[in-house]
């Protein structure tokens, strides 16, 4: 059974789960797995973090539950229409479509949350239902992919086709890697660094597929990283800013986010965070800024987070706390345009 059929089946199940009680003059009730960080546990078998046993109950006889229950049913029926018509929708599209069906959301954050509810209930990622995030990361490198989306099905694409890189949308995400000359995946946080690495032909030098994360990357990007790692056996290096937020971008790619702990197929536990680490800041004498209150608070939160429980990560957290400074990827520019490629990355990716 392919992914689309599986999603269809899940949606039909959900429909029956709602309809059958009503036909028996009862109020439908549904369990939604609790996505609170306190309900995240490590599952050794799958080597990733998953949701624990805690559930939230949505009871349609409860006046405070009916709204979100109905919203969930709408998102599901909207998905069904997407699948039927082989269409996709961005989260933003979905938010705006709701009004036409008499379902209202306070804001897009609310509709995004309901989409996540649908994922938790069905155990399938939103992409399976044709729903994609609005933001895009980019990819560039000597890699041929084959599309699986309608109209492009079977067509191959060379990811060096544009010097700006190619946006990672639904099509690339679901495409299959065909062949590559690359030996690693190098994911970088900022667009500036991504462009620098393309321009300086660092991708040739390191034989790297470059991925621009653009902050906390969308799931399509995380899923693609995982695919490249699994299918092509490419080691993955993550290069972010040297601050708690950059560190967490790397950690989410490895171990998953709280918001998608219910989804399989997103994490790459074997990926490696190369920096900028607190040690790098010291070792390379990078220009720094002081950590502000928000940074320090974030460090406190991370130090208690189950995903940071092992000593390596605690060590990084301690490092930031000790230095009380942070450095951006671009900080290497103080040693000249090419330093980051010639020296830093060479050291790290050796």
């Amino acid at each position: 059974m392919n992914e689309g059929e599986q999603a269809q089946l899940k949606l039909t199940e959900l429909g029956k789960h709602i309809l059958d009680p009503i036909l028996e003059n009862k109020f439908p009730v549904i369990d939604v797995p609790d996505r609170n960080t306190s309900n995240i546990v490590y599952e050794a078998q799958r080597n990733r973090f998953v949701l624990g046993a805690s559930k939230n109950i949505r009871d349609s006889s409860n006046i405070n539950h009916i709204r979100s229950f109905t919203q969930l049913a709408w998102v599901a029926s909207y998905s069904k229409q997407l699948l039927k018509a082989s269409r996709t929708s961005s989260l933003r599209d979905l938010y705006y479509s709701s009004e036409a069906f008499g379902v209202s959301f306070k804001d897009q954050a609310e509709s995004d949350r309901i989409v996540t509810d649908l994922e938790s209930v069905t155990g399938l990622p939103r992409e399976s239902f044709g729903i994609f995030p609005d933001e895009h990361s980019s990819i560039y490198g000597e890699l041929i992919m084959r599309y699986t989306v309608p109209d492009y099905n079977g067509r191959e694409i060379d990811l060096t086709i544009s010097p700006d890189g190619l946006p990672i949308g639904p099509a690339i995400m679901t495409a299959e890697p065909v062949r590559t000359n690359a030996e690693i995946v190098l994911a970088v946080e900022s667009g500036g660094m991504f462009s620098r690495l393309i321009e300086t032909k660092a991708w040739q030098r390191f034989k790297a597929v470059l991925i621009q994360l653009g902050g906390q990357p969308p799931r399509a990007t995380r899923s693609l990283i995982r695919t490249l790692h699994k299918e092509l056996d490419l080691p993955v290096y993550l290069f972010t800013d040297g601050d708690p937020w950059g560190m967490h971008i790397a950690r989410v790619i490895m171990s998953g986010s709280a918001n998608s702990a219910h989804i399989d197929g997103l994490t790459t536990p074997e990926a490696k965070w190369i920096g900028v680490t607190p040690q790098d800041i010291e070792q390379y004498s990078l220009p720094t800024d002081k950590l502000n209150d928000a940074d320090l608070k974030r460090l406190d939160e991370l130090s208690r987070d189950v995903r940071y429980s092992d000593s390596e990560w605690q060590h990084h957290i301690e490092g930031f706390r000790r230095l009380r400074t942070k450095a951006e990827q671009q900080a290497f520019s103080r040693y000249g345009m090419d330093f980051v490629v010639d020296t830093y990355l060479s050291d790290k990716i050796a």
Partner: protein, 505 residues
């Protein structure tokens, strides 16, 4: 330096007629539009008082017609008691002569109003007042009267027997005025009068308009208003001295019991002990000093009961509401009253209706309609104690805001209404009255607020249910779509089940 000759000061007395002729704005005859309104008003009030006395449902015809130029003929005709022949000249052509100086609630108070209208007509058009009246024991008489301003005496221009179908009085005046500007006021006045006297019916005829009927909304004749003895706290030295003169042989204790309301032998005894007088002492042995001591003690002693209400005639909940409902579109209303209390010994009752309805403007505070002794007050509202007190109340606390069109009808009745001027348009700020008004307004506010909150709540509940029903209907629809079922099940039954339980709570 030339010494200036001293100005010669001359002394003279002037008659009341002369005084009010010179100061006519005091009595509401200051300008041409106010004059017509005041004339109509004074005549109508006399007619209503007279119908009260006759214990009859008032039927009053008001005609206000132009007679060329700015000369206006005002004629008011009633079915009251009529005026006995002997009193007609004095009653209509002598200022400060009248039947209204007794200790009971009346619309008219000074014996001034109608004679001022007569005087104003005489001055501006040089024509007499025509009075056609019939008492039960007469066939009807018609008089034409002038006022001798210098001596304040009536001049009988003519008098003759003229039959009148039934008891009552018709008074016709000619005066100069601005009818156009007065007309709105007169309409408003009559309309509001049917609220404070819902037993009355008015027929208004003006130029080039069909006659308009106002009222009657109620067929119950108010109980007769009785004169009562003054309350002891009203006993200033002058009053006490006069009473003492007429009761010289009485023993002090009996004198107090006979002269004042709410004073029995017990109270009288306690009071005399308090002030230190022998109860058996004869009244004619009291010195001026003694009287002065008794007078001030009467006003200080706190052992007297609240004053009698027999001399007052509040509109009452039923009539007040009937009147308001007949004149305005009302969606909700609350009645409350306070009293009888007294100010300087004058008993008073304050009653009010707080009403909501689309006829009223939306504002932060309710629109105020003032009434005193069943007379609507239309002018000088900003100076009035009722207006001032209304503004002092924090209406927001009672859920009154600009989203609620509300009006407040306040009626003060007293044996003496403390008007600021003889024009009887605004009530003076008397602490005792103010305090009762505040309590009344708070009581009304609380009751309105309670209902507002309740109706807001039930509105919210209703809205909640509609929203729930809609959501649940959608849930069923989406569920059917997902399950691939064409027929969407009915959800009304489930929704009803759910809300029958929670709405009954």
């Amino acid at each position: 330096m030339n010494q200036r000759a001293p100005v010669e000061t001359t002394f003279e007395s002037i008659s009341p007629a002369e005084f009010f002729y010179r100061n006519r704005q005091l009595a509401g005859f200051g300008n041409t539009s106010q004059a017509i309104y005041s004339a109509v008003r004074e005549l109508v009030e006399n007619s209503l008082d007279s119908c009260d006395d006759a214990q009859r449902l008032p039927l009053i015809e008001v005609q206000v017609m132009s007679e060329g130029g700015d000369i206006i003929r005002v004629c008011v005709s009633d079915n009251g008691t009529g005026v006995p022949d002997a009193h007609v000249p004095q009653a209509f052509a002598k200022i400060l002569y009248g039947s209204k100086f007794h200790n009971r609630q009346r619309r008219g108070t000074f014996g001034l109003g109608v004679t001022m209208a007569v005087l104003y007509g005489q001055i501006t058009t040089d024509s007499p007042v025509l009075v056609h009246t019939k008492c039960p024991d007469s066939q009807g008489m018609e008089y034409a009267l002038f006022i001798d301003v210098e001596t304040n005496q009536p001049i009988i221009e003519s008098s003759c027997s003229r039959d009148r179908d039934s008891d009552g009085t018709s008074v016709t005046l000619r005066l100069r005025g601005d009818l156009k500007r007065a007309q709105e006021r007169i309409l408003e006045y009559l309309r509001l009068t049917t609220i404070s006297t819902p037993q009355a019916q008015f027929l208004l005829k003006t130029d080039n308009a069909e006659s308009i009927t106002f009222g009657r909304w109620s067929n119950s004749v108010p109980s007769p208003i009785l004169t009562s003895n003054p309350h002891p706290r009203a006993a200033d030295l002058e009053l006490l001295r006069r009473l003492a003169q007429h009761n010289g042989d009485k023993r002090l204790q009996d004198f107090l019991v006979d002269s004042f309301q709410k004073v029995g032998t017990k109270t009288s005894g306690r009071f005399l002990k308090f002030v230190g007088f022998n109860p058996t002492r004869k009244v004619n042995t009291l010195t001026r000093d003694d009287l002065s001591r008794i007078s001030s003690a009467l006003r200080k002693f706190d052992g007297f009961e609240s004053p009698d209400h027999k001399s007052l005639s509040p509109i009452g909940e039923e009539d007040f509401l009937v009147g308001i409902r007949s004149v305005f579109n009302i969606s909700s209303h609350y009645y409350s009253d306070r009293g009888p209390s007294e100010w300087q010994g004058n008993p008073f009752i304050i009653e009010g209706v707080l009403a909501t309805g689309d006829d009223f403007p939306r504002s932060d505070i309710p629109t105020l309609y003032r009434f005193a002794n069943r007379v609507p007050l239309l002018y000088d509202s900003s100076e009035d104690v009722l207006t001032k007190t209304l503004k002092r109340v924090n209406w927001e606390r009672y859920s009154v805001d600009s989203s609620v069109p509300a009006a407040l009808f306040l009626h003060l009745c007293s044996t003496r209404v403390p008007y600021k001027a003889a024009g009887k348009q605004s009530i003076d700020t008397i602490p005792e009255i103010e305090a009762e008004v505040v309590s009344l307004l708070r009581d009304l506010g609380r009751r309105l607020g309670r209902t507002m909150r309740k109706s807001e709540k039930s509105l919210r509940e209703g809205k909640k249910m509609r929203e729930y029903a809609k959501s649940f209907r959608h849930l069923a629809k989406f569920g059917a779509e997902l399950a691939g079922v064409d027929e969407v099940p009915d959800t009304n039954r489930l929704v009803k089940q759910l809300f029958e339980v929670s709405l009954d709570e």
